[in-house]
Symmetry: C2
Subunit: 439 residues, 2 copies
């Protein structure tokens, strides 16, 4: 007899919209290959070159020999064999954080992970100890966070956001409310810089107030920072929460997907919190995360780490230096898209949009709710793809907004995409107006 598996007999997260969101969006993109995509948050591809793989592997190999004193047998062991669970480029990541972010961190507090997604997953797994634990997250929230939490049966409670990031009063309310219900808010997840999907950034004053709040409430903050190196103007970037964090309230998630290449699948977590065991022993949260990692993926591929390590070494560990061209493209595209929106939706139109200080994403608010059926219509009838903002709330409440991305497009794509978007919006508005027969 054939084993029959019912979806309902598998983990409940598999029926959750959060886990189907990315699949749905990918499928729509595949279904309409000729549509202009203002949906994908993938990095710009124009600068990829195959030969760079060889170059960066060689640079990292030379680093093992020259700087770490490894002989050929040790080099091969480092790159080919099972290895250190916390990674082999941790010292370069620590240097990068110092150079680019002014974050001083013990390399031992870093766990190099399979992309930032695994970093997120490890942190959530460690923190979700029992049924009383809940996670707070600035809403709208990156679906990768929501999906990982669902897989770990870790309830996520949304925290309101404003045009300048997380609403600090609501955060405090949510912490108190959860505790009053007998629950344990384990941490609050947020992206202070050019957030996905909102595009918002927190002010320096708010960052300091947030850290004070975290100290008062004894709350961990999970800071996710994939876009921080891409401000839209020349103005100085703001310090990350981790750079301002004097008392280890911040678990910092890092990604190389947007700064180096997604295909390395290398990210990391800085977890310098002290963990005390019952016997009075003390260690780093990073070491507990490494124990989780050893059962999820063992170590992160040293070959993939070597590629990222090579890029870091080639630029004196500065990703600000390594991403000059990308930063120009993203900033230029962001300005061009915002300008294009203003041209196509003049003042007085009921269409509004955010003007982010950097990153990949602009949120456009429309006079009607934006759901998956509309995305299909937009792709089929107008040839333009975008992301319904409803995907980032996941509570089933209609949302009158969509997300546009500027990261993987040209100016020409933006022109064509916005022209089609304007036609789509006009079409939808007309379709929703009472027809002549009703008047």
């Amino acid at each position: 007899m054939i084993v029959k598996i019912q979806l309902a007999d598998l983990h409940p997260a598999l029926e959750d919209p959060a886990l189907n969101s990315m699949n749905f969006l990918n499928e729509v993109a595949q279904e309409y290959p000729d549509a202009v995509s203002l949906a994908a948050g993938r990095p710009y591809e124009e600068f990829f070159e195959f030969s760079a793989l060889h170059r960066y592997l060689d640079i990292f190999r030379q680093h093992l020999v020259d700087d770490l004193g490894q002989d050929p047998v040790q080099v091969n062991r480092t790159l080919f064999q099972y290895g250190r669970t916390k990674g082999i480029v941790h010292h370069l990541v620590a240097r990068n954080l110092e150079v680019d972010e002014g974050i001083a961190v013990d390399p031992e507090a870093i766990v190099v992970t399979v992309g930032c997604q695994e970093a997120m997953f490890l942190v959530l797994r460690a923190l979700r100890a029992g049924p009383r634990d809940v996670l707070l997250a600035a809403a709208p929230t990156y679906v990768g966070l929501t999906g990982a939490a669902r897989l770990l049966d870790f309830p996520v409670r949304p925290v309101a956001t404003t045009d300048s990031g997380v609403d600090l009063a609501d955060l405090r309310d949510q912490v108190h409310r959860a505790r009053a219900e007998g629950l344990r808010p384990r941490a609050c997840y947020l992206m202070p810089d050019f957030a996905n999907p909102s595009g918002t950034s927190m002010s320096l004053a708010d960052r300091r107030t947030l850290l004070d709040l975290a100290a008062e409430e004894e709350l961990l903050l999970i800071e996710d920072n994939p876009y921080g190196l891409f401000p839209a103007t020349e103005s100085r970037r703001l310090p990350t929460l981790k750079a301002l964090d004097t008392n280890s309230h911040v678990v910092y998630l890092g990604s190389f997907a947007k700064t180096v290449l997604p295909g390395a699948r290398v990210g990391y977590v800085v977890a310098d919190q002290s963990v005390a065991d019952a016997g009075g022993g003390r260690g780093l949260l990073a070491d507990q995360l490494a124990k989780v990692k050893s059962m999820v993926s063992v170590n992160t591929s040293p070959v993939a780490q070597a590629v990222v390590g090579g890029v870091l070494l080639a630029h004196d560990c500065s990703l600000v230096a390594a991403t000059v061209r990308q930063r120009t493209v993203y900033a230029d595209n962001l300005r061009y898209l915002v300008h294009g929106l203003a041209r196509r939706f003049p003042a007085g139109s009921s269409v509004r949009w955010t003007v982010p200080a950097g990153g990949f994403f602009v949120v456009v608010t429309l006079p009607f709710p934006v759901d998956d059926a509309l995305l299909h219509r937009s792709a089929r009838e107008y040839g333009v793809l975008w992301t319904p903002m409803a995907h980032f709330y996941g509570d089933g409440v209609p949302v009158h907004a969509l997300r546009l991305s500027v990261s993987a497009v040209t100016r020409d794509d933006i022109d064509r995409g916005l022209g089609r978007l304007a036609a789509f919006v006009a079409g939808e508005v007309a379709r929703r107006e009472p027809g002549p027969g009703v008047r």
Copy 2:
């Protein structure tokens, strides 16, 4: 105020021996760097060469161009960008399974994972739907399985084993017993070929009987096969359960760690089971696992996959062909170790050992219980490392046995290691005999 984290406030698995086992063993190895290690299950290192990375990347690139018709932009996108969650070498893995194992499988039923460990983790996450679910596992069990299950709050019930693998009568008993308790045994995990740590293999007759039992009981089997390509003799290998599986009862876990290189961190799962959703839709279990994977690590590094793909392409997708030298080393070492044990522990000695038909591991039974304290003494006073078998039971019951590994050693290591092991055993036996004062 500094956030204080107590280990007891993190996920309970972090205090479980299963998650600390690998760390403990690594730490002992680091503490005694001059000890001969008959503990490590790592593959033989002598054949690693750095330049091979370049060669295999180039071969895979050429495959994308010549066989899949990709232009340079597409090649770069395949290797550098986010990509297919189920992987980019699935077609080569399917061909490999056909060539080496006679397994015919739809490439769409394969998920390429971050090592076999992630494959295991995804399967366990999908199958553990609620508190009634339990997993059965042939005991002694690979600690990576036990640790992953602990992290997912998935209880593991041991199934007895004999010299020829899982005890089929006990397996049926365990299924019935669990069901009688109102529990759902979701699957049974086992390694039919040269198991870690027992070294045992199932007979062909037992494999067929096991598949019949799975059909009668509607039980999934999770077949893990990292060592199958390493028989110790020229005799034909036995078919895997998956090769004999006509009704999709077997979820097959594959590893390239021992056949290609651990540092790629590439493994896979074959999950061709049909999954029905409430709406009457049907899909593959592989697609559900991919949804889990998208929230654990997104996709497996295409750069790392390309290295493995290059090795497969260079050998017409036969890993039997690719591992001729390794197979000779492992078979030779296994014979040499068994012969060495016979020389040092002659008939009449109370020391016994297994004589596996292949793989990496020999289990030695001693006249006294073997615990972690003894491992420390063996390393410190005798200079030899091995693995206490108690680690593979994890129930706290004393075990009079240790595991020796032949995979990462030379004949000279074996000679020195066994000499020291014999001295250790003699020392322990003498230490446990009543002293003259007692007589």
